[in-house]
């Protein structure tokens, strides 16, 4: 079994890649993909800390990860619905073209 810090570094790398994509890409879909990656990195941290915690009987890490996955699913559904609605107005998903509130 690999030690805990390797999982934490892997999760930090995933988070940073997601952040870089969300900040630099122009497509709204890719920004949402970056947000999903960051959420998954957080989940990996929850599970790793749960696995390596000294208390044997605790379950809260797994529970938190399950609830976090559920909330991420809801977020993804609403996010992509919003992208579709915006696409219908502007005919584009490029973020810097969506610069006026009046449809």
């Amino acid at each position: 079994m690999s030690p805990l810090y390797q999982y934490l570094i892997l999760s930090a790398l995933l988070f940073a890649i997601g952040l870089a994509g969300a900040l630099t890409r122009r497509n709204a879909i890719l920004v949402l993909i970056g947000i999903e990656l960051m959420l998954n990195a957080a989940n990996l941290n929850f599970i790793a800390f749960w696995r390596f915690s000294p208390q044997q009987e605790t379950q809260i890490g797994v529970m938190f990860a399950i609830f976090s996955i559920g909330i991420a699913a809801a977020e993804a559904a609403v996010g992509f619905a919003l992208i579709l609605a915006v696409f219908r107005h502007y005919r584009t998903t490029q973020l810097d073209k969506m610069d006026s509130l009046k449809g």
Binding site: L13, L14, R25, I29, L37, I47, A48, V62, A73, A85
Partner: protein, 173 residues
């Protein structure tokens, strides 16, 4: 370092890089599915079987497919630049590198680096179910409500707007 972990880590980082920086959007979505599968394998390695299978069901089965649908529905033929304008893209990359560096530095400077794995964790699905129905019943109800609201909200937002009905004036003559 174990070979299984190295393979999974390379798969994860490569998949994430591909998902964020590939040119074709459909390739991005497929790389994202690979990343989710690698994460599910890591959860299995960490003795969290239920979370691993939930990850496969929810992320690969639902979220990745949702992303593919969104990409195909918003497809545009004209070529578009990939990144923001030169300056802001570099600022974003620099912010991400600084965040990664500070996270890794804080991991290495903390006491967590000394932790090693204790014995195998056995968390059965039955235990999770009992916990969900007992101690975590209120969050479970709240997340049910949230998912219902998100379902209805997503359908309403994505529904095409009705055009205001034109008055049907009978043609003259």
């Amino acid at each position: 370092m174990q070979p299984g972990f190295i393979i999974l880590a390379l798969l994860l980082v490569g998949g994430a890089l591909g998902a964020m920086f590939m040119r074709n959007l459909v390739h991005c979505a497929l790389c994202l599915a690979v990343t989710f599968a690698g994460l599910a394998a890591l959860y299995l390695q960490l003795d969290a079987e239920f979370v691993g299978f939930t990850q496969i069901l929810v992320y690969i089965g639902a979220v990745a497919m949702l992303i593919v649908f969104a990409i195909l529905l918003t497809r545009n033929s004209d070529a578009q630049p990939r990144f923001h304008s030169f300056g802001s893209a570099w600022i974003g990359a620099a912010v991400a590198i600084v965040v990664a560096g500070s996270l890794i530095a804080s991991v290495f400077s903390s006491a967590v680096i000394l932790h090693s794995a204790s014995g195998r964790r056995a968390l059965t699905v039955k235990q999770i179910g009992v916990q969900l129905m007992g101690h975590y019943v209120l969050p479970l109800e709240v997340i049910g409500l949230l998912l219902t609201a998100a379902l209805i909200g997503a359908v309403i937002i994505a529904m095409p707007e009705k055009k205001p009905e034109k008055k049907s004036t009978p043609p003259h003559r």
